[in-house]
Symmetry: C2
Subunit: 347 residues, 2 copies
Amino acid sequence: MAESSRRLRPEPRYGTRPTMKDVAARAGVGLKTVSRVVNGEPGVTPDTERRVQEAIEALGFRRNDSARVLRKGRTASIGLVIEDLADPFYGPLNRAVEEVARAHGALLINGSSAEDPEREQELVLALCARRVDGLIVVPAGHDHRYLEPEIKAGVATVFVDRPAGRIDADAVLSDSFGGARAGTAHLVAHGHRRVGFIGDQSVIHTAAERLRGYRAAMADAGLVIEPGWISLGTTDPDRVREAVAAMLDAPDPVTAIFAGNNRVSVTVVRVLAGRARPVALVGFDDIELADLLDPGVTVVAQDAATLGRTAAERLFQRLDGAADAPERVVLPTRLITRGSGELPPAH
Amino acid sequence: MAESSRRLRPEPRYGTRPTMKDVAARAGVGLKTVSRVVNGEPGVTPDTERRVQEAIEALGFRRNDSARVLRKGRTASIGLVIEDLADPFYGPLNRAVEEVARAHGALLINGSSAEDPEREQELVLALCARRVDGLIVVPAGHDHRYLEPEIKAGVATVFVDRPAGRIDADAVLSDSFGGARAGTAHLVAHGHRRVGFIGDQSVIHTAAERLRGYRAAMADAGLVIEPGWISLGTTDPDRVREAVAAMLDAPDPVTAIFAGNNRVSVTVVRVLAGRARPVALVGFDDIELADLLDPGVTVVAQDAATLGRTAAERLFQRLDGAADAPERVVLPTRLITRGSGELPPAH
DNA sequence: CCGTCACCTGACAACGTTGTCCAGGGCCTA
DNA sequence: TAGGCCCTGGACAACGTTGTCAGGTGACGG
């Protein structure tokens, strides 16, 4: 192996990576031949190929994909921007997107917008500068016109969990309105007339939809929502705690609560656990171990993995050339009864 | 604005992105001047800068970072390989790494190894081909010599949660041994002599360490572990269920169980909830809502966010030139008592 | 009025890869 | 044996950016 193949260049110094040129020199072949071997292209004699492989091995060569990208135009990577990588709701979504990307030979670059429109934009544009082939975005902002030049330039973009603002783009959503309506109706069906709603900031599309669903269900039942039954604007545990306390300690307290998302639900469960009088609860989003609590937490579950998978598949359809009009896919939610939502009103 | 600035090139066609050359032509300046404006370099007249900015705006130009990377050598991106993006344990770790990366102006590329050494290697090498500046890896395999050429070429690498195999590299770990020992000792201190251990595959470093901790605590107390008290090899709920059932239905059953990680704990909690006789439980890893169960689940908690932050900070120290010997950082665990671990033995 | 200097600006090469195209040689056929 | 074809291998340009360097312009001082 290490026979008398004199180097034409000095051994690359520490911190410098060997290039195809180095490999070619060492193997005594042309540059393009190395490229062919590395990419498994035909037209190389077994003997030549062996020599090249040995040189690659000896030098620890690894193709520089940056250069490759520059030449080929595609990066085989997609960007995923979500609200918070640490939120358990997004874990399965993230994973599902990754699986689809992997099946298409693409890598995943991702980041958290932290529910900050500026940070979302910064992140998205950074991904565009990296020339990701496509983007999957859980939008934090409400104006995505900044994406227009990118989309026109060919960056496939799919929004997930919430729709895009002020541009026409593919979106994959859960049926927040229908889910909240069904969840609230479930409480009403169990005899509740005084139902509270604790949601997130109503600028968030899903939060607004869920509020709308709650209102619709109450209206359907001919119930008038009193001021003080609705809390919006924050998922901060302390604030949610206060809001719940206020609803329960009012002169004429609510007998049931609809919680607008997983974070709110967890806090509400904690508050209710410390109360003597039972209060019914239905939460949006499933929670781990919800079945083991006493009572089990009844939830309107959405399928985050399907959300992610559907969005990613749509994205790759686009990348494969699908050019039909942007569409909005709405996935159904599922009511899972576990006890907390079936408690009768206590007075 | 849109005055008579004749184009020197035709408008780029759909799907093609404008380059600095296009911008330069449109603004009637040189290529390098555009580069200067884009990068905020000094030495450009306000008037020239304005013209360039207008051209950038009009064309929707965005710098191609692939080309930039090729020229500059650094990608301002780091790779993170974990076991499963969907595992709630890794969410905070992921997020912490992202925050540190963001503070250093780097993007995060990440993927799941799915506990498969081959897939880990594939992913890591793909990241190296992208020329990430650094790598943070939760290793699935036990031989990382394949990384030697990469590390020699300057890819900073930090292992997290588990150490590297067969190479000398930085690692940030939780004290699995100490935590398991303390957790088991806690059960023993509450009068248990017959304590079962349900763990993951013992080829996983943390799983082996936890088993070792359990054995050490039992030995410390002069207790002999009977065959049948230890279950290893899987976190599959059905198998764990069987294992727990076997321990509890044995002629001389265990009175307490130490669960080796969060997934196992959840399953064990489910099984115990269906049993009449109370069984004490301490689990490794904290679980959401563990405090609300009855009894609350006593756990040995590790701090995933700190794990991630520490690893990422170490990585950027390396990238900033730190060249000291690889070190192993071990973070302490914390026993959180909530009830399940303080149950007395039932006979 | 001219030299000097500071400041802008642009031409050019280089980063490492891949696509195009051509040269050379071996082999088959007429 | 000549002609032509196929197979292998290599030279060269191009991808879009940045670093280097040199040229050009205007101001200012002697």
